[in-house]
Amino acid sequence: MTQLDTISVKHLSKQFKNQTALKDISFNIQPGEIFGFLGPSGAGKTTTIKILTGQMHPSDGVASVLGVPTEKINEHIYEQVGIVTHNSGLYDKLSVYKNLEIFTKILNVKKSKIEEILKRVGLFKDRKKIAGKLSQGMRQRLILARAVIHNPKVLFLDEPTSGLDPSTQVEIHRLIKSLRDNGTAVFLTTHNMEEAEKLCDHLALLNNGKIVEAGTPREIRLNHNKKKRYKILLKDGKEFILSQSEETTQKINWWMTDNELVTIHSCEPTLETVFLEVTGRKLI
């Protein structure tokens, strides 16, 4: 672990009886970085979060969060950590405001932070609403607000936008980015490759408990861009997909000179295509 790493994972493995959930995974996350764990259901994403948050012990390897080995994690570290899982609960009989107020008391946060965070997640006008009556999107925003009300140094997000409408997803993405910009290290699991591409500074593709590819989203895509191809649209409506060659270069040059070229796009693979190529399976 370097001085800067907020999360450090080395050769981590987890075995459940006859099933291997994680196999020798290693990665580091620094402050102000969004690290995405991309993989299909059952790949080992949630298991990794549980180990990193001290809710489960690894079978092998070492991991630390904020310099604390995960097996030594106690309640004190949670004062600097925020966690959102797909089954994080709310106090359904209490109002939106009261749901946050409890945690300001527990985490010793000023009450004025409640209104500030409610405005940021777009729930300020709903602050008196009973949590049990919120829509799925509003619940998820409230859960996220609760996880970040104490400005955590590390934020664990387990499929935070799963099942949410696109506008709520955009709002949540905006909040996650602003936290990253303020120095929070974000560990995000998702099986949504668009989300991973938009949000993550670094990614690890996880399959059957093993990291099969890692790097920035661009690095991963470009590393697998073996057959360079270009999608071209001409004025007369004709579309071509051409491989990189001297002939293609000449053609493009000719179309450009004649002002025939309307659009040109490189055809590097998407993260989903890379995942399919590397593992032979889809991300869902």
């Binding site: 949670y78 089954n87 609960g89 409890i102 527990i106």
Partner: protein, 240 residues
Amino acid sequence: MNLSIRKINAILQLKLQSIITNLSIMVAPLLAIGFVLIMKMSMPKAVMTGAFLLSFGALFNSIMGGIMMGSYPLAEEKEKNTLRVLMTSSVNGAEFIIGSIIPSILMIILVNIILVPIAGIAMNKVNWPIYIIYTTLSGFISIMIGYIVGIYSKNQMQAGNISMPILLIFTMTPMFQMINKTIANIASFTYSGTIINFINDMITKKYSPSFKDITVLTIWTVLSVLIFIYAYTKHGLDSE
């Protein structure tokens, strides 16, 4: 394990609101008051003596209420996935238990005091220090039993299924005692039996704490705490 007064206070306030807004928890103290009132008004005084009414009400409140106040909120927190949120928000198990137990105990004490005039017993007839200590201890034992049930339950329905036979046995002790002397003798070794005998003696003659009563209550208290600690150490509050 460190204890934070701030966190205990936050849990206490949360639990107080939960208890007040959760009818399934409030049902026991409310029924205790309601049943005593109904029985007092509808049955002849010769049958429904003040001692019987108070022991029935106090048992209902301390035992049924205690077990429900222990098991239901813990099971509800697990069912709604809020317990894990608290535990991963820097609250430890001891802070959660202490913060949860205080409002329940206060509620039990308050209702046990209210039951005295409702049962038609003169205030000066009550040995208040012993009445409060005994009934509060029985409430505490019941809450511990409730927590043990809560630890082994995944949801409120399961908590209800497990706790129902336990709370019926202890709450119905006065009825069982009437069946025959052997059962009455066995019942006197239960914490509910001790409460009944104490209330009876306190109202009908002068009660002075006996070695047996103190021993029975102490053993039940220690046993319930030890079993709770064993269950907590083995499974935690929120085992998967």
